[in-house]
Symmetry: C2
Subunit: 291 residues, 2 copies
Amino acid sequence: MKLQKNHQILIVGLGLLGGSYAEALSKQGYRVTAITLSQEDIDFAVDKGMIAGGAAFVDPTLVGAADLVIFALYPHVFKDWIKENQHLFKSGIVITDVTGVKSCIVDEIQSMLRPDVEFIAAHPMAGRECSGVQNADASIFRGANYVVTPSDKNTDGAVELCEDLGRILGFARISRLAPKEHDEIIAFVSQLTHCIAVALMTCTPAGGEYTNRLEEYTGDSFRDLTRIARLNDEMWSELFQLNKYALLHQMTVFEGELNRMRSMLELDDMDGLREMMRKSTARRALFDKKL
Amino acid sequence: MKLQKNHQILIVGLGLLGGSYAEALSKQGYRVTAITLSQEDIDFAVDKGMIAGGAAFVDPTLVGAADLVIFALYPHVFKDWIKENQHLFKSGIVITDVTGVKSCIVDEIQSMLRPDVEFIAAHPMAGRECSGVQNADASIFRGANYVVTPSDKNTDGAVELCEDLGRILGFARISRLAPKEHDEIIAFVSQLTHCIAVALMTCTPAGGEYTNRLEEYTGDSFRDLTRIARLNDEMWSELFQLNKYALLHQMTVFEGELNRMRSMLELDDMDGLREMMRKSTARRALFDKKL
């Protein structure tokens, strides 16, 4: 099943991601409307040609006209929205999302959803450290990964439609993962890395009087590792909580590896340290090659 | 004291940094020669106009003609070189370095050095994840930090000369730190960050069958945090060992902060997590502003 130019696409939540989706789809001639909290954001998006129209309330006409609805909301907001408004959907449509964790979202939404509407979840691995539709940018999808997370309740048609959406948006790589696998991997590549960046940034390192002047002594390493230390605390704390056990597990795995390094250093095991560094270099070279 | 155009500059160790120094200085009309292990590297550098001439052995004429000698060698090689060859220096010259740790280097070199030659240590916080003179690039100094680390044995004249060198090379920020302070800060901003990147890269995360396919599911976070996971294991293991206690201390500080986050997650302390994230965001915004 492919996305058609005459399909009406509704975006619920016109923030950075929702806005970027809107921009990317509109640029390619798809018909896009939006529902979001702020009328100002609707006006901005209409003005920029990102959407044909929209509303700052749950407009039954807009919802009822949609063939594909893309939810770009905080998880708890998404769940509440479905509870309260799913009766407005046209029969037979597909809804999807951009949420950063999957198992709980997929389970809960699919459990409460009308049987004649299908939810196929996806995770666009793209973003920027700022927020809001004013910062929307369709180019953030270029070179990025898009992961579709079907459950056994999903049909092939909906999965293909969702993958087609990813292609249209311009993602470099479209892949599939079961919701649980997704959550384990995301706990490592995305959530743990944000925990590390934040901890580095909030540390008071020894030599603490320099904490506010680190930019005078830093090289690229600290900059690289803390680039993602600017984050939307409302969104990220919720994502961590929803993926708590997977994240705690990955924290344990990482801390174990760091402690392995620590022991080598304490015991002056230079051979062990060098071997670890060579393994790291080899893996990263492979990673670079494939990117 | 300023670097003069008629000063003869000798670079010992024509690798990535030595070569970049040579290129930057030659471009600005300074007279540069080099001594390094490989004749091929000398030929390459002469060919590219990075140096006027050089040798793949310790040429007494080259050493004896130098007014300023810049050492870009592994720490243990640097110490041995001084032991064996310092008798070749002209009287009254200044020598400097690029070594990534300071206390031990400054102490040891200054203790063994002739009284009529002065060693003023410096740390150019710049580099690339590759090595060799073929990858030398004078532009790596732009926007970067240069830290001079005088001891109480250093004269104002030598310190000023060293800072002048940093300016000529094109560094954005020249600062001074005592060797011990330097080592504490570097343990945090540079060494700990490399430990983290390596540990992330060598981890076998839960969901381990994906370890070799992370590039399919990754976003920018993992890429950012492991960019520096490609490293020269010979150099980095030696730097870690020479700064062992400072590094272990910073590892403890960091692990403590990560564990604070962990506890909040375990106890569902969302307010605590959000506060930590906001603190991180604020600090990073300040850091960005000043860079």
